[in-house]
Amino acid sequence: MTAISPSEPIIVAENVSKRYSQNEQRTSFRYEFNEMAKRFLKRSVGRQQTEQFWALRDVSFTIPAGQTVGIVGRNGSGKSTLFRTLCGITRPTTGHVKVRGRFSTLIALGAGFNQERSGRENIYLSAAMQGVPPRQLDSVIHDIIEFAELGQFIDLPVKRYSSGMYARLGFSVAVHLKPDIMFVDEILAVGDAAFQDKCIERILKMKEDGLTLLIVTHQTEQVKALCDRAIWLHKGRMMMDGATQEVMKAYLQMIYETEVEPTPQPVAGQ
């Protein structure tokens, strides 16, 4: 873990907005050619005739190192888009994202594994994909295999693995790379109940060691148990940002008691 002073924010999001337009999904040669011609001629684009959809709208927050933040919201509220933006998978349409330090993602476990290669080799591949060179792995490789409970299966090609084994290996690699930040999207569906407990235990231990954690989950009990702070997103806007208890109370109230659409309130500081 690189030395990062706890006082400085480790994640900063400033007025992050993400727009998806119908146009962007379109794949026609004529469209692309027109775009190229427009850019070449530096002509301003004429009328906007596209369907636009804002997945995120003016989301701003700062997260200090070591905090555990839960992100809650209903389906389609922009939680995953926010994660993808923070990880650098997509870039926000407007606004800035700044993430310091190295991060691991527990979004898609085992993404990028080479099916033909063994579990052991894929540990190195997966680590390299998260920016960790092989020589840093030598000391933890045994822990990774042990934690994943793979035993002698570690030298089998991963295409022979069950989905549980696959996910356990992915999880194990991610948590053993000593990241500064971890993005967790509905992780705790990995393996059986015993393994899930082990995962939570592991995450709690990493939290003690100063890990910054961002969690997306629909399991409200988990948010209450793990998080110091919660951010509530609704239709791409930030509804509330504060202590877990208060945010969760308001959020649950909205979900269960009112069928009325809440109007997004401007967040303090905007």
Binding site: Y20, E24, Q25, T27, S28, F29, Y31, E32, R84, C87, G88, I89, T90, R91, T105, I107, A108, A111, G112, N114, Q115, E116, R117, E121, Y124, L125, A128, M129, Q130, G131, P133, P134
Partner: protein
């Protein structure tokens, strides 16, 4: 910026047109005094400096000055050194080199230094990011090469057997059945053909696979962050590895025909480098374009067929009537194939002056391909 690049390109083409192909080195080629090199180096630096001043003052851009100066010096010295290693060079060729270098070096130093990505970072930051992921590139490449053959009974030997058998079949068909009207200039046809077929296979494999390299990894792009260029570079690496084994197979076949490796093979890495730069540029461009235009891979298949017969692979360049030589002159692969052939088949020093055109085109294509790729990179996850 684009105008300057196009201008450089056009000048190179114009100069290139004045040259005839496959011309062996004659008696008029002579060594020249060292002072010319120094003069040339000096003029490159001066020209760069002037262009840089103009751009810097004119556009008031903040540039990492130190970086730029190092880049200049590096290019100047590299060009100078490269010329030093060329054994025989006429005054005419040297003049050509100097004029070309003047135009060329700002293209590869000043302009990229002024470029900014969509996140406002200069090219050095992007390349540093890529450098940090070099381990991923190596591991990924190794696994891809290994796993392609690990299921087969003969395993890794297929890497050698496959190109060997392909080369043999092609060589046999073309040397025994289809020799109609094709002259191979007094050398075994197999050797003549393979010397150009091997680099052609590298080109064709790289471009064909490169155009699908990005969108075939939809899942990964949507889930994990890494510099997306890696996807393209892996494909290039795979093509290079495959063709290296094909090259070995070629050496065996050549040995059977009585053509042995010679010391001029030390020039081959240079040729391969030029070709790899050209391919990388094209692959970056096509890889990112095919995310949006999915017909690109099909189109490439057709274009590759066309290009195969338009390039002097099956036949010597001298067979083309003078009226149609311009087709060869605008094809940057032709001088490369000619040089491969000069080295492997005729064991003679290639005509270095003709290699300038592919080099310029390669660097320009690489730069433009990279810029296009980078401008499109952010959209990959949203579009796929």
């Amino acid at each position: 910026m684009v105008a300057l690049l196009v201008g450089a390109n056009l000048v190179a083409v114009q100069t290139r047109l004045k040259y005839t192909y496959g011309k062996p080195l004659g008696d008029d080629y002579q060594a020249h005094p060292i002072s010319l090199y120094i003069l040339m180096l000096f003029s490159i630096l001066v020209a760069n400096f002037i262009i840089w001043i103009v751009i810097r003052v004119g556009l008031k851009l903040t540039v990492a000055i130190r970086q730029l100066i190092i880049l200049w010096l590096a290019t100047g010295i590299l060009v100078g050194l490269a010329t030093l290693f060329i054994p025989t060079l006429s005054q005419l060729q040297l003049g050509y080199f100097a004029a070309a270098a003047l135009l060329f070096s700002p293209c590869i130093t000043v302009i990229p230094a002024l470029w900014r990505g969509s996140d406002g970072e200069p090219v050095s930051v992007h390349l540093a990011k890529l450098w940090n992921y070099r381990v991923l590139l190596i591991i990924w490449l190794r696994f891809n090469v290994l796993s392609r053959y690990s299921q087969a009974t003969l395993g890794i030997f297929w890497i050698i057997l496959l190109p060997l058998s392909t080369s043999l079949v092609l060589a046999f068909v073309f040397s025994r059945f289809l020799r109609v009207g094709v002259t191979s200039e007094g050398v075994p046809f197999v050797t003549f053909f393979l010397a150009a077929l091997v680099p052609w296979t590298l080109f064709q494999q790289g471009i064909t696979k490169g155009s699908t390299s990005v969108f075939s990894q939809i899942g990964l792009i949507n889930q994990v962050y890494f510099p997306r260029e890696i996807l393209v570079l892996i494909t290039l690496g795979e093509a290079l590895v495959d063709v290296f084994f094909m090259f070995l197979a070629m050496l065996v076949i050549n040995g059977v025909s009585g053509v042995w490796p010679n010391w001029l093979y030390i020039y081959l890495p240079m040729l391969i480098l030029i070709q790899a730069l050209f391919m990388a540029g094209l692959m970056l461009f096509l890889g990112s374009l095919s995310v949006i235009v999915r017909d690109i891979p099909q189109l490439i298949g057709v274009l590759m067929q066309l290009l195969f017969y338009l390039s002097p692979i099956l036949y010597p360049a001298s067979l083309i009537p003078h009226r149609y030589r311009f087709i060869l002159a605008i094809n940057p692969l032709v001088p490369l194939f000619q040089a491969y052939r000069d080295i492997i088949v005729y064991a003679q020093t290639p005509d270095f002056a003709t290699l300038y055109f592919p080099l310029v085109v390669s660097v320009i294509v690489l730069f433009m391909g990279y810029v296009y790729f980078k401008s499109r990179e952010d959209g990959f996850a949203d579009r796929l």
